[in-house]
């Protein structure tokens, strides 16, 4: 009994009307043929939905992240289709896994090579606090060398948790003022890490 073959002679119409997620419109004035809103909101909307992550995966959390990238959890749904394994053009560094004291300068260098605006996501117990490794060789949390925006708990966190972390980052990106990176407060924060 041969398997019935379906020839593509009647391609199914693509249903684009109910299947595309559309970002919410920012508040503003609209009228006949124009829409006025603040630049900040538009930029925030654009940045939020096109975050390019730089995965810095060193251990098990990195494997969990691979599942997050895969088709089932599909990080690409959030505009993070393009993983850059380079600091060039990336906005979000995702640190996943144990960072040893020997790896810390490399992590810091990668962070410094990213252009502003940049965000940092610490995934899992090790990146956030050193995890179970209270030892001489492990950095007790990456916030000792670079500023962190969002921490994802778990050992390792499930892909849902990593997605949640990305969504929290998106909220930050969305609501960030365009002037934040020039503020005294932000400069003081970077100075506390010795970054000019």
């Amino acid at each position: 009994m041969p398997r019935p073959v379906r020839f593509n002679v009647h391609p199914r119409e693509a249903d684009i009307h109910n299947n595309i997620a559309i970002a919410e419109m920012p508040a503003g004035l609209q009228g006949e043929g124009f829409f006025a809103t603040s630049l900040e909101k538009v930029v925030g909307l654009a940045r939020k939905n096109s975050i390019w992550p730089l995965p810095f995966a060193t251990s098990c959390c990195g494997i969990e992240f691979m599942a997050t990238m895969g088709s089932h959890y599909d990080l690409s749904r959030f505009g993070s289709e393009r993983m850059g394994f380079t600091p060039r053009q990336c906005d979000l560094i995702m640190v996943m896994g144990t960072i040893s004291k020997k790896m810390a300068p490399i992590l810091r260098q990668v962070y410094l090579q990213m252009a502003e605006p940049r965000w940092v996501l610490a995934v899992g117990a090790c990146a956030s606090s050193g995890g179970i490794f209270d030892t001489y060789s492990v950095l007790q949390g990456i916030d000792q060398v670079i500023p962190v925006d969002v921490y994802v708990p778990g050992c390792p966190p499930r892909p849902e948790a990593i997605l949640d972390g990305v969504l929290r980052i998106q909220d930050l990106v969305h609501n960030e003022s365009l002037r934040r990176r020039h503020s005294e407060h932000y400069k003081a924060l970077l100075n506390s890490y010795g970054i000019q």
Binding site: I132, Y136, S137
Partner: protein, 172 residues
């Protein structure tokens, strides 16, 4: 002549007399001790002898015995005769105040990295080593982490809940 533990021991005692001592056979592996000034002579003999031919250094590491005054650090050599598939182990003990042991790099090239690791973790100073610097830990480290005066974990931490890591708390 089959290379048995008794025969190796007999050959060593013929050659070195009382300078090799504390012979044991844990799990069938011949283990003995020698003074730290003799380690190269013993190794050279084991390497060069036409019957013994221990020409492969499997492992070199150290052990810290904090409660043995004057013999705190033991440097352990594991040698392997690849022809007859025989292994032996020997130890030299040194005081922790002056942990100077002669390097085995002239006999075994592999001792280079092993001795760097032993220096890195135990602080054994291998006299004559061509490049004695840390190999695994960061260069800024100012202590030797495998010595037992350092606690395994920082006891003063309050920011980590042991319960979450399956150690201590109510879970055993």
């Amino acid at each position: 002549m089959e290379l048995t533990n008794d025969y190796i021991r007999q050959r060593l005692e013929e050659k070195f007399g009382g300078e090799v001592y504390s012979f044991e056979e844990p799990y069938g592996m011949l283990t003995f001790e020698t003074a730290k000034t003799n380690n190269l002579k013993v190794m050279q003999f084991l390497f060069d002898d036409a019957e013994l031919r221990f020409q492969f250094l499997t492992d070199l590491t150290a052990v810290h015995y904090p409660n043995q005054p004057g013999r705190e650090l033991a440097v352990v050599y594991h040698l392997h005769n690849l022809v007859d598939n025989v292994r032996i182990r020997f130890k030299v003990f040194t005081a922790i105040e002056q942990p100077d042991v002669f390097t085995a790099t002239s006999l075994y090239a592999t001792a280079n990295w092993m001795e760097r690791e032993t220096y890195d973790f135990f602080g054994v100073n291998f006299v004559g080593h061509p490049n004695l610097k840390r190999i695994l830990n960061v260069d800024e480290m100012d202590y030797f982490p495998m010595r037992k005066e350092f606690p395994l974990e920082d006891q003063t931490r309050i920011d980590k809940d042991d319960e979450m890591f399956g150690r201590g708390g109510s879970i055993f």
